[in-house]
């Protein structure tokens, strides 16, 4: 395991390097440049554009820009944002980093627990009315677009009833709706997956053995059937976690939250290279770590899985 970890971490570093190069190239590949966006209506003002280019070092040859960036990076310096003049990239991202993980983790916890619960109930009662009803609700949850749900909920709960704030971030009340909306899709997806995998494992002989031992139904489902569905569910949870933590633009926009998703989108739209690079690096780190943890969990959950060391 430790050898596996060592290699995994080494390849992690390599992955970061690839991410840096890939984003750097991709950024320059993207049509339109930051100066254009900064200039807005004055985008054709060549004089101004040249001044800005020089100010941001964008007039240097590409390889020099790259070297500059990488040396900065090695010193832990992600550079300054283009979009927000003079603000360090770290600071821009930190805005989102204070919010998105909170929403993401809360939504993840919500969707894992609720999704698993609903899926498990449906699986145990497979074929019954409960199952059909639950799955219908779940499918509706999957099929109604997030912004429709969000708009509806805001209108009802905030505008009409005045129970919850319309938007913003800071108070616990303000977190409720975003978390719920972010969780709806994942809940539905997870519920369906759980049901599917459970139906798979509930038919196994060892589940019969558990029943023969007098394990109560809950134990049968949780301890035996669900446990054996953990590996694929964990995988999905890992991806979901990544997706939720790195921000859901729909939720962030509707609830007016400066999360990572929104920062990513605005920085890309503004061709704010340093922030975009910073975000990709952060996300790479996120996903790399999450997936590493998921892989380790595989081995812990299923002793038969051996992750190849190579």
């Amino acid at each position: 395991m430790s050898q596996y970890l060592a290699r995994r971490i080494a390849s992690f570093v390599a992955m970061i390097a690839v991410a840096v190069i890939a984003t750097f190239i991709a950024n320059r590949f993207v049509p339109g440049d930051p100066v254009l966006v900064m200039l807005g209506d004055q985008s054709s003002n060549l004089d101004l554009a040249a001044r800005l280019r020089a100010d941001y070092g964008l007039d240097l040859p590409l390889h020099e820009q790259f070297v500059r960036y990488v040396t900065g990076l090695l010193r832990g310096d992600l550079g300054l944002s283009f979009r927000f003049p003079g603000v360090p990239v770290g600071e821009v991202i930190a805005d989102g980093l204070r919010i998105s993980p909170v929403i993401g983790l809360a939504a993840l916890v919500l969707s894992l627990t609720l999704g698993t619960l609903l899926g498990a109930i449906a699986a145990v009662r497979a074929g019954s009315l409960v199952d059909t009803g639950l799955m219908f609700v779940v499918v509706i949850g999957l099929s109604v677009p997030g912004f429709v749900v969000a708009t509806g909920l805001v209108w009802l709960l905030s505008v009409r009833l005045g129970w919850l704030p319309v938007a913003g971030w800071g108070t616990p009340q303000q977190a409720i709706l975003p978390i719920i909306v972010a969780a709806i899709g994942p809940i539905a997806y997870f519920a369906r997956l759980t049901r599917t995998f459970l139906l798979e494992t509930l038919g196994q002989d060892y589940v019969r053995t558990a029943r023969a031992k007098g394990v109560p139904e809950r134990g049968v489902v949780l301890h035996h059937a669900l446990r054996n569905a953990t590996v694929p569910l964990l995988t999905v949870a890992g991806i979901m976690m990544g997706g939720l933590i790195t921000g859901t633009i729909v939720v962030e926009n509707i609830f007016n939250i400066q999360g990572l998703g929104r920062i990513a989108v605005t920085s890309i739209a503004a061709r704010d290279y340093p922030v975009t690079m910073g975000i990709v690096l952060l996300f790479t780190l996120f996903y790399g770590t999450i997936n590493l943890l998921v892989d380790i969990a595989y081995v812990l959950v299923d002793p038969r899985i051996r992750l190849a060391v190579s």
Partner: protein, 333 residues
């Protein structure tokens, strides 16, 4: 309403019927099986592969596969009325009132739990022992079933074990709570004879000393004769002969039971060719009419083709045959 339960009654199955599937796919697997066992008694259930032995046990334990339907006049296992119990009540009966050794030790063990955990589970559930006590009981159990170095190997996962080791883990699990009754479906097929002897001795002493009843499903007639008090022979979903083990093995009355005995190889001497039954075993989808054995039976008469022979008592035995061997006074070689 509670059904009066005889305290000496370890197992009662009356008129058990099991069918599976719907519509055209419907097959009747068991046709009116009745069995009864007293505490301390060992009944061996032998018979043709696919005749419904495992189904009988599974049905009595209410562990039938999805899609199977069960009908029975009475089902009492280990002093508990299984037929009417449901949900939580059934969970309290299973594992405590009876244990179950499944035929397939590999797939019947949870691949993600160590055998120690799996054996500990019924102990935790029914005996409510603390961790240490549970662990030492698990080690004792594993030792009793002849598991080598039990204290280290209880942390093994099923895939790390040999076939026989899994089977022994399964047995340890089934007897973990000292149940008054045990379903043992081919419990020793993967055990070498010495280990088998040890395990059977253990099971038999549980029966003799603790009054456990045991339904022992096996193909090994040697095992039957060594441990069973009584034997029931099944063929194509029906019981065709029952009686004291020694007597039935020595001189079966039903031609099928006789054929079984004749087909056995021996360690003591090598025979040129084994005496197998002619013809194909019947499929539940197309059971023959009348006596289901008649197409393969040398003694079959016209009557066998049309009417179903009932299990009729003769002495300590019951036989379902119109032309039983006993009447022709044939003796065993």
């Amino acid at each position: 309403m509670t059904i009066p339960v005889d305290l000496h009654e370890a197992l009662t199955i009356e008129d058990l019927r099991v069918g599976i599937g719907r519509g055209r796919d419907r097959v009747e697997l068991l046709d009116g099986i009745s069995l009864s066992l007293r505490r301390g008694e060992i009944l061996a259930l032998v018979g043709e592969s696919g005749s419904g032995k495992s189904m009988t046990a599974l049905a009595a334990a209410r562990l039938l596969p999805p899609g199977a339907e069960l009908g029975a006049r009475r089902l009492v296992v280990g002093g508990a009325d299984v037929a009417s119990a449901g949900g939580a009540a059934l969970d309290r009966i299973r594992g405590k009132s009876f244990g179950f050794v499944f035929q397939e030790p590999m797939t019947s063990l949870n691949p993600l739990l160590t055998i120690g955990e799996q054996i500990a589970e019924p102990i935790r559930l029914h005996l409510h022992l603390d961790r240490a006590a549970t662990r030492s009981r698990v080690i004792d159990l594993l030792g009793a079933v002849g598991f080598p170095a039990a204290s280290t190997r209880l942390d093994d996962y099923p895939h790390q074990l040999s076939g026989g080791q899994r089977q022994r883990a399964m047995i340890a699990m089934a007897i973990a709570c000292n149940p008054p009754f045990l379903f043992a479906d081919e419990p020793t097929t993967a055990l070498d004879v010495t280990t088998q002897a040890q395990v059977l001795t253990l099971l038999r002493s549980l029966c003799r000393e603790r009054g456990m009843g045991m339904l022992l499903i096996t193909h090994d007639l040697g095992v039957v004769s060594a441990v069973a008090d009584r034997v029931a022979v099944m063929y194509a979903g029906r019981i065709v002969e029952t009686g004291p083990a020694a007597a039935v093995l020595a001189a079966p009355h039903h031609p099928y039971a006789d054929a079984l005995r004749r087909a056995l190889p021996r360690v003591s001497a090598k025979v040129a060719r084994l005496e197998a039954l002619e013809g194909q075993p019947p499929s539940p989808r197309a059971f023959p009419t009348g006596c289901r054995f008649h197409p393969r039976c040398a003694r079959a008469t016209a009557r066998c083709r049309t009417s179903v022979p009932a299990l009729v008592p003769s002495g300590l035995r019951t036989v379902a045959c119109f032309n039983p061997i006993a009447e022709t006074k044939e003796t065993a070689p």
